[in-house]
Amino acid sequence: MFQAIALYASLIIFGLGLLYKGSTWFRYRMGKDGRKTPTSKRVSAAFTGILSTVFSVRILILAKVFVLDVVLQVRVLKEDILRWFMHICIYGGFMLLLLMHALDRFITSAVFPDYYSTVNPFMFLRDLFGAVVILGILIAVYRRLIVRAPRLVTNAMDHYAIVIVAVVMVSGILLEGAKIVSYSSYKRMVEEYSGLEDEEELRSLEAYWVKTFGVISPHLGGPFDEKTLEQGKELHEMSCAECHSKPQWAFTGYGVAKIIGPAASWFRQANVPGILRYVHVLACLIGLAYLPFSKMFHIFASPLSLLANAVMERGRSTPANIATRQAMELDACTHCGTCTLHCSVGVAFEEIPNANILPSEKIASIKALASGRKLSQREHRLIQEGVYLCTNCYRCTVVCPVGINLQDLWFTVREDLLRKGYPEFLSLSPLSFYRGLMREEIGEEDYGGALARPREAILAECNLIKREDKAITLTARDRELPSGLSLSAQANTFSVCFGCETCTTVCPVVRNYDSPKETLGLLPHQIMHACGLGVRDLAFGSNMLWDCITCYQCQEQCPQGVSVTDVLYELKNLAVKNVKEKTLQQTGRGS
């Protein structure tokens, strides 16, 4: 009764969970197209898209992807044989157990009319599949906790996934072991199937089972004489063998039985088999009910992601469908860490400790963002920095085992984030090159706005540069600036500048403007001088700093050996560090 209620309850939660999660794919609004199109249009566009694909030659592509990437998981195989083996063990073994063992009343009995869970091959196969899953779990634990690839993050959800599968499997095996030694199970079978009534015969059969099959009897312990065993064997072959293979075939459970044998009477008193049964069934039902909300939901979303990405492409597919696909991809991620392992800039995480730099963590943050969770400005800016710190090399997309178009996702989210109006200082670096190539798609207003904001934020910290006369007051000097330029030996060469202006003369940026001072603020030689004087405001607030093209003409031609370009590089580092910390602190106070 309890079991039936629990089963139906978990099925209902599971079903509602699927509906809820599926609906987010059409409700989450990411990117221009995602915001523009209402949910109803997205649903109808998805139907049209799916129908027009299924009834076209592209069905062949889908079939191919289904076999190779979904069933055989070739993309995982290409990445790492051990991981592929691990996943095939867990998913293959678990699926087979689900079909043959958990759903035996519906599936196995229907396919094989003489099915009994206690008869081979079913008895053996159940244990084999279980052992295969356990092997997979052990490899997963080894990978997550022992090898630990660089920058692989293991979160609570990863632990949950391993634990829930492990509990289901281990409790199942223990239960089987407990049943093998269980005298009451033996009694029940004898009563149900043997039809024996003669005391002696019953004792012979029992003796045979105790001797050969590991049953622990409270009455009989052996040793038994040959004759009793002989009679027991005969009775066994007559009444039992047809429906019960030797328990040794259930090798994992039999192993457990051998270990727990001595404690069998205690087990019986404490009703351990009953408890194990509850643990096993409850773990299955909890896993089922929580599946749509856990990373196990990838069982549904990942195949869909693989299939959708095989036939969809930005520019060719309906924008509404791209938006839906991107929302779905957030659920398809299994947090396997392949993208992070291959990320071109993942190594930067060691110096810029923002987990959002790592693609596998970035996608988790984007999920929170898409769900509409209220983020503080600080959280928002950290995601923004993580999304911007990307060379758009497409490696993450190429290696993703579930085919998520991560690069496309970063692009969509980057513009959404920037539109919020917080400054992104990374936009003052060549990381902006790719964004520049996409400017048509972004739209002029959003494009330019995002570029202006970091300069404005830096300027806001530079009071002196706003003064018309630029007269330097003595107090405005920052004595730490000259000594702060210390990242490399080249940076303090500014001190030998004698103001000959060669750097400024050869600078192609300066040459580009009719009145360079108005556009650029301080010119290169003046910035060198400003470093010596410690007038931080003038150095940081000059456009020259951010418009430097790093062509090294100034440095190459300096007669004094001033590493002008290298000094400018360090000034940029300092300016950004300074203003980034300041603006983040302000937001920390809850604004």
Binding site: E351, I352, T391, P430, G436, W546, I549, T550, C551
Partner: protein
């Protein structure tokens, strides 16, 4: 001749024709390339923001190459400049090296030095040699005028990058001329392409590029030629933006050096990815002559 090929981030994602053509050409010239999948970004785009992240990025790549006992060859001039700069910094600054190595050791790597960083052009010039290349030229160009673009980050700072004479370089010109083309004199030859500022200050970037296009055309060049993904994308994709925003006056298509060399070596045009250029360069095939002509090196 065996090198670890350091493609960087831009080429695999946005400039397939460069990878295709360089593999085709170097294969014929007997240069073996080894791919190291674990290579990461050279750090160039991070240098404005985080010096340490920049150094760590390049140092990790050098450590990976060292592990395989290979010298590094890169077809990107910004990657080249970064790898060279970091190699120099790590040699010169022991405190920095110790700090970076402490981070690298966490993934079992160590920067030890001893890895040579080379640009594709210097490998072609010094290791393969003009004479060997000349032997492979099957249909040299005839009457083709090329505006050779050196690229800043191989030339300067010259003490660190050690590519060629920073004031009067000739390696690239000689490599262009071995194909039978003429490498013209033009005043902005050694100037910036504008790419480093593209996406940050587009007007300035387009000004700088346009200046080069104008100068190239005024010096009667038929094509620009570069050997760097950033320079090429600037002259190709960004030029397209310039043409649409600022008019067609200074149109000057750009070809990658490996495409130019490949054409004169009779490499299959499919393998050179000519079609992938944004501004069409089919016209250049009209300059190919039928029979082999000996060219002098021009300098």
């Amino acid at each position: 001749m065996r090198f670890a090929l350091f493609l960087g981030c831009t080429i695999p994602a946005r400039l397939n024709q460069y990878e295709l053509s360089l593999r085709a050409v170097l294969g014929k010239l007997g240069v073996a390339l080894v791919d190291i999948r674990a290579f990461n970004c050279c750090g160039y785009p991070l240098r404005n923001i985080s010096f340490k992240a920049f150094v760590l990025s390049s140092a990790r790549n050098l450590a990976l190459a060292k592990k395989k006992s290979l010298n590094v060859m890169t077809p990107c001039k910004c990657c080249y400049g970064s790898l060279k700069k970091v190699d120099h910094l790590m040699k010169e600054n022991t405190a920095l090296r110790r700090e970076v190595n402490a981070t690298l050791q966490r993934e079992g790597l160590e920067y030890e030095g001893g890895v040579e960083v080379r640009h594709l052009l210097s490998v072609l010039f010094h290791d393969v040699g003009i004479d060997s290349i000349k032997k492979e030229i099957k249909s040299p160009f005839d009457g083709l005028k090329i505006a050779t673009h050196y690229g800043c980050h191989v030339l300067r700072p010259s003490q660190i990058v050690e590519f060629d004479d920073p004031v009067a370089p000739s390696i690239f010109d000689q490599l262009v001329e071995v194909t039978g083309a003429e490498s013209i004199d033009w005043t902005t030859k050694l100037e910036c392409c504008g790419a480093p500022i593209w996406g940050i200050n587009d007007e300035l970037s387009m000004d700088l590029t346009e200046k080069k296009l104008r100068d190239g055309r005024a010096s009667s060049a038929d094509y620009l030629c570069s050997a760097c993904p950033y320079c090429h994308i600037q002259f190709d994709t960004v030029q397209k933006v310039i043409l649409s925003k600022r008019g067609n006056n200074h149109r000057l298509p750009s070809i990658l050096y490996t495409q130019l060399l490949g054409l004169s070596m009779d490499v299959d045009r499919e393998a050179l990815g000519l079609e992938m250029n944004q501004i069409p360069i089919d016209g250049i095939e009209g300059f190919l002559s039928e029979q082999t002509v000996t060219t002098n090196d021009g300098r």
